[in-house]
Symmetry: C2
Subunit: 353 residues, 2 copies
């Protein structure tokens, strides 16, 4: 499944050479003010007791469209020129990025075209159309998504907004950590899930400035550990079509912008099992009363499984989103919570804090 | 199923004769400060658009023990005398009141004894014991719970803390509406679920003082409509063992303290179907990313089903708790969301606000 590509020219760069700076995050925050939600931070005495640390959950499942992706999408669209706005934007996504672009376009009166596989769940197609996007479907077996995209972009002059590898997207995602640290103060540790690395790199930039001694750790599924291997190899590694329930982490590799930022500002990368992801989801739903999607539970999983274990530390945990099929989640819970390990950790109802 | 009892002596009283006043709610708030959570208020542009009103959800599912019950229990226990504290307290409950008493006792170093049926779910027994309570079980078929309680209270001098019909419990629950109105300002309407009426009566007292023109509406399951019938008959009505999924509303009747307060300060009572309850739960989980128990979804159900329909109004909705079996909820969702009505209302992922 893993596929090693040739070392890239990307290595450690001076901070001044990085494509996104804290000033960009600050500017994004000003643009997002009144548009994105300042999502709540939750704490739990149960989690603090279990881990011996002080844990702050930044709840981006309460963000507009149900995930942090709105921040980056809006920050990118709002900076387009009048001509670009008039022509409209294009995105490839069947997930949260699609809806983030569609809603941002609706708010800014920018036409949006989203390219989605024709077998994407009907509810996702409907939700994206519900925000006013034009959805163009393709057949995954017979059509080339890239050719279709190039044709659409060429014919209509649409601007492509990628899901993570774009400086405005990265700066927008960084506002998540900015808000968290501004609300709770300096952190010793910040745990962030990692797919293409937009959220992780943006948050690492914010933490570096606002809480300089904070160690930032990225968390991936074991089955989609391209970023972890890239981090240690210092060359970009790829995992094609990883089979993980954390759909937000199924991206094949980091980007050419996110990778150098991660090498520069992230202190470590860790991975968690599929079972650990479901256990963390179950814990967040049952104990914290938060509906969290699998990718959104990655950082919590690293903490609850003891993969990250720093008694006494002040730990920020980003809960990235909550868009999940409730019926499928119910089935996952039935399967995983039969395992012995989770039983003592998740009694039926317990102290919330 | 319904069982009409003789008219009680309770009729409309002057406000000065009521057993709980706003001053009691204010004093409770001071006692709860730093102990109970000031739970967040959430809004949703989707709900506002659907209803044409401005809706504020007070999220007591994030309260300690996962429900508002902690407020009243703590406010009662903290006012006990040194002698009463030393001897300890007793409660009958297999639900949120049990855990509220157990946690309050743990925090105040007061021994707690909870009487629960021996066939209560093992997880509930474990959670209550987890807070340090002594759990005494009885056989529902052969034992008299009341006789057992009297024996325990008599032998050990325990103080019985009832789940709703106690002035300190009512005053504690009233702090929920106090916080909501203080945070969002005056309301036109406040929707509160109703079982024994502790939360409803307390919140109505707070609303009457803090937002005098606010109309307070209690919401019950159709299958457990004793309070609604009592409200209209102006005499206490009883429904024994109502078969509703809203377990917090299965109480047979209002109390001798809550009933007169409700007659005096509540403006209307409405009922919702079992299907409407599950639909509202599903909506809250999927769209607002909140894990809410069936009773906690009652007030939302009245709003989303159009039973309460006041375009332009500022509407407070109390979400009373989130203690629910996740696997059972998954099964409920599978069943109810097959019905046509819920489909257009709950696309997979949508704008949170």
């Amino acid at each position: 499944m893993a596929d090693f590509i040739q070392p890239d020219s990307i290595t450690t760069l001076a901070a001044t050479d990085l494509p996104v700076t804290y000033a960009d995050v600050e500017a994004a925050a000003a643009r997002l003010n009144g548009q994105a939600h300042r999502t709540p931070v939750m704490t739990s005495t149960t989690v603090d007791r279990q881990t011996g640390s002080h844990v702050f959950f930044k709840c981006e499942n309460f963000q507009r469209i149900g995930a942090f992706k709105f921040r980056g999408a809006y920050n990118a669209l709002v900076q387009l020129s009048a001509e670009q706005r008039r022509r409209g934007v294009l995105a490839f996504s069947s997930g949260n990025h699609a809806q983030a672009i569609a809603l941002s376009g609706q708010l800014l009166d920018i036409p949006t075209t989203i390219v989605m596989p024709e077998d994407a769940p009907a509810v996702k197609l409907a939700a994206t159309r519900g925000y006013g996007a034009q959805v163009v479907t393709y057949n995954r077996l017979t059509d080339s998504r890239e050719a279709l995209g190039q044709q659409l972009a060429g014919d209509r002059g649409l601007t492509l907004i990628p899901p993570f590898d774009h400086p405005h997207v990265i700066a927008g995602q960084g506002t998540t950590a900015k808000e968290l640290i501004e609300e709770v103060g300096a952190l010793d540790l910040l745990l962030v899930c990692c797919g293409g690395g937009g959220l992780l790199s943006g948050c690492a930039i914010a933490a570096h400035t606002l809480s300089p001694s904070c160690r930032v750790i990225g968390v991936e599924p074991k089955r989609a550990d391209d970023a972890t291997r890239s981090f240690y190899a210092k060359t970009l590694q790829t995992v094609e079509n990883p089979n993980t329930i954390a759909d937000g982490a199924r991206t094949a590799s980091l980007g050419t912008l996110t990778f150098p930022i991660i090498l520069h500002h992230v202190h470590d990368m860790v991975t968690v099992s599929e079972t650990a992801i479901v256990r963390a989801m179950f814990f967040l739903w049952e104990r914290l009363k938060l509906v969290v999607e699998p990718t959104g539970a990655l950082a919590t999983a690293a903490l609850l499984e003891g993969i990250v274990n720093e008694p006494g530390a002040r730990i920020g945990v980003i809960i990235s989103g909550g868009n999940v099929d409730l019926k499928q989640a119910g089935k996952l819970f039935t399967k995983v919570t039969k395992l012995p390990k989770s039983q003592p950790r998740v009694p039926w109802a317990a102290e919330l804090s």
